[in-house]
């Protein structure tokens, strides 16, 4: 099938290969790239209480997959486009205030997912590995994917550094940010675009269903050890990378699916962080623990 993008068809996973193969190194490099990018973005998702919002954008990615197949456009473009469209739609609906944001998110989130699944089912001529899209297939990343992940990641992080002060200011108070010339609306829009970009990039690694967890769990883990938003952002990146490394080795060792294994590893780190013995709030200690 010409013009088809790479993630759609790939050789079936050969389970139980306990060798540090090329594909495994690629998975590590790709996963760490995604984790580093997701960390700071995930902090904003937590601070702004946008977990469900992120989930909705991620779920809409399946609709993007379906559109990519149907129109034979690059997957990244359609996933990004649909995520942006859904977030804009959500903003518009919220402004009307006919339903609570919570209910709107629930409607959009599951509808986007369902429409995606229905559309894919209609296209009887395409065979796709749904599980790979839903739960990720990090072991199938190509060198091109890695370039995309790291290139996109650098772009996202650079944009975040550039927008850092307005984003932090508007997270603390939209009104103060607006009054003091921080242009919070612009910051919010760019934040949404960055989220959509990260979702498009990360989809292949952890899958649609688990993207939000890679955003939120490392950030939540970093909270206890952080003395400032900046420290928390960096720690979230490092903890995310640690989860990717742990999850991938775990998946290799126990022959478990890679995406969920990464999430489980992140969860274990989070639970570990809850233990009081691990010290209090100081950034220095946190640094040691985060990197270990």
């Amino acid at each position: 099938m010409p013009g088809m993008t790479t993630p759609i068809m790939h050789p079936p996973q050969t389970g139980g290969t306990i060798v540090l193969d090329d594909f495994f190194t690629r998975a590590l490099v790709a996963g760490i790239g995604v984790a580093l990018t997701a960390g700071p973005l995930g902090c904003f998702v937590v601070w702004r209480r946008m977990a469900y919002f992120g989930d909705t954008m991620a779920h809409s990615a399946l609709l993007g997959v379906a559109l990519s197949l149907f129109f034979q456009i690059n997957l990244l473009v359609t996933v990004f486009g649909v995520a942006v469209a859904v977030s804009l739609l959500l903003l518009m609906l919220q402004r009307r205030q006919s339903l609570s944001a919570d209910a709107l998110l629930g409607i959009l989130s599951h509808s986007a997912l369902a429409i995606g699944l229905v559309l894919v089912a209609f296209m009887t001529w395409v065979r796709i590995d749904l599980i790979a899209f839903l739960f990720g297939d990090i072991l199938a990343v190509t060198p091109g994917d890695i370039g995309l992940i790291w290139g996109g990641g650098v772009l996202v992080l650079a944009a975040l550094v550039f927008l850092w002060r307005p984003l932090i200011a508007s997270t603390v108070s939209e009104d103060v940010a607006e009054a003091e010339g921080m242009k919070p609306a612009r910051a919010r829009l760019f934040f949404m675009l960055l989220m959509a970009l990260v979702i498009a990039i990360a989809m292949k690694i952890v899958g649609i269903m688990l993207i939000t967890s890679l955003l939120i769990i490392p950030a939540a883990t970093a909270r206890r050890f952080s003395s400032s938003p900046e420290v928390m952002a960096v720690l979230a990146s490092l903890i995310g990378a640690l989860a990717v490394i742990g999850g991938l080795f775990g998946s290799l060792h126990y022959d478990t699916p890679s995406g969920p294994s990464i999430v489980v590893a992140a969860l274990l780190l989070f639970i570990l962080s809850l233990f009081p013995a691990l010290g209090k709030n100081t950034a220095e200690k946190a640094g040691n623990q985060g990197v270990r």
Binding site: V46, W47, R48, R49, R165, I168, A169, T171, V172, S173, D175, V176, A177, E178, A179, E180, G181, M182, A220, R223, S226, S227, S228, P229, V231, M232, N281
Partner: protein
């Protein structure tokens, strides 16, 4: 021609912000309407009014957080604003020290940072986490942040809420000093005129619209002010028994002899004799009373607004 332009330019430069017939419509209701005022360099303008009078809305119109549906708001080009909002809820998941809060919207040298915190009385809290501050301490931190920005215009929405009584007057004194030393304009919001009286140039009494304005002395004597703030409290009688009769906001009539016709509030009416006997005591009493229990004054203005909108 050129000279006139320059003169005009200088004049408008002096004017930090001006509202002309500004109004804000939300869900078919005018939160405020027909608001006219301007703030010049070195001027302190205080908005007073009951809850829901549109004080915060008016302040937000002035600084551009809200855009008017009617009328116009003009701000000096490049106007630097320092804003202390009425409410600010920081999610506890965000680690934020006072030091970091001070640099929220712009860089700041350590000396400036320490100086502003010292001025508001919390130099020891520079490394404290914001979520661990008490209400009064947080308010001081917010004020310090606004001051440290060295703004052209400071907008302070109930800046001393939660601050202890001694601290309250000290902070008002500080705000006055800052105006004197930096020449910035100040737009302040307060529940009660008494506290801000000394430091204010112009008082604007709001209740959905501008009820009255002028120097604190003038406003505190005006019938409109008394209507809003004295509706159910004893000091109303103290002031207004000089008048022949006064129309209360809810349609009842207060007569010159202190009796109220067609009133429904059980607390009303039984103070009149005392009032005549000890007017000064009751003036004093009102200030404390009004300070601690704003709610007393709100029934009448709410009814008034209802009529306006109907």
């Amino acid at each position: 021609m050129l000279m006139t332009d320059r003169a005009l330019g200088a004049q408008s430069e002096n004017r930090l912000v001006s509202l002309a017939n500004a109004g804000l419509l939300r869900d078919g209701r005018w939160l405020v309407r027909g608001v006219d005022f301007s703030i010049r360099r070195g001027e302190v303008v205080t908005l007073i009014g009951p809850n829901g009078a549109g004080k915060s809305t008016t302040a937000k119109l002035a600084i551009g957080v809200l855009r008017p549906n009617e009328g116009a708001v003009e701000r000096m080009q490049g106007l630097r604003i320092g804003y202390v909002p009425q409410k600010l809820a920081i999610d506890w998941t965000m680690p934020l020290s006072v030091r970091r809060l001070m640099r929220l919207t712009g860089p700041l040298s350590d000396a400036e940072l320490a100086g502003a915190l010292a001025a508001t009385g919390i130099p020891h809290l520079v490394d404290a986490e914001v979520r661990h501050l008490s209400g009064g301490e947080f308010q001081r931190a917010l004020l310090a942040r606004a001051i440290a920005r060295k703004p052209d215009l400071m907008v302070l929405d109930e800046p001393v809420q939660g601050v202890d009584f001694a601290g309250e007057s000290a902070l008002y004194e500080l705000i006055r000093e800052i105006r004197n030393s930096t020449g910035c304009g100040i737009l302040m919001i307060s529940h009660d005129l008494h506290m801000v009286m000394a430091g204010t140039d112009t008082v604007i009494c709001l209740n959905g619209h501008v009820c009255c304005r002028g120097t604190p002395e003038v406003v505190s004597q005006s019938a409109d002010y008394l209507k809003l703030f004295g509706g159910h409290s004893r000091s109303l009688a103290v002031y207004s028994h000089h008048h022949d009769h006064t129309h209360l906001p809810d349609g009842r009539v207060l007569h010159g002899d202190g009796s109220i016709t067609d009133h429904c509030h059980p607390d009303d009416g039984h103070h009149h004799h005392e009032v005549h006997d000890h007017p000064h005591d009751h003036t004093h009493d009102h200030h404390q009373h009004g300070h601690a229990g704003h709610d007393h004054a709100h029934h009448a203005p709410a009814a008034d607004r209802g009529n306006d909108r109907a």
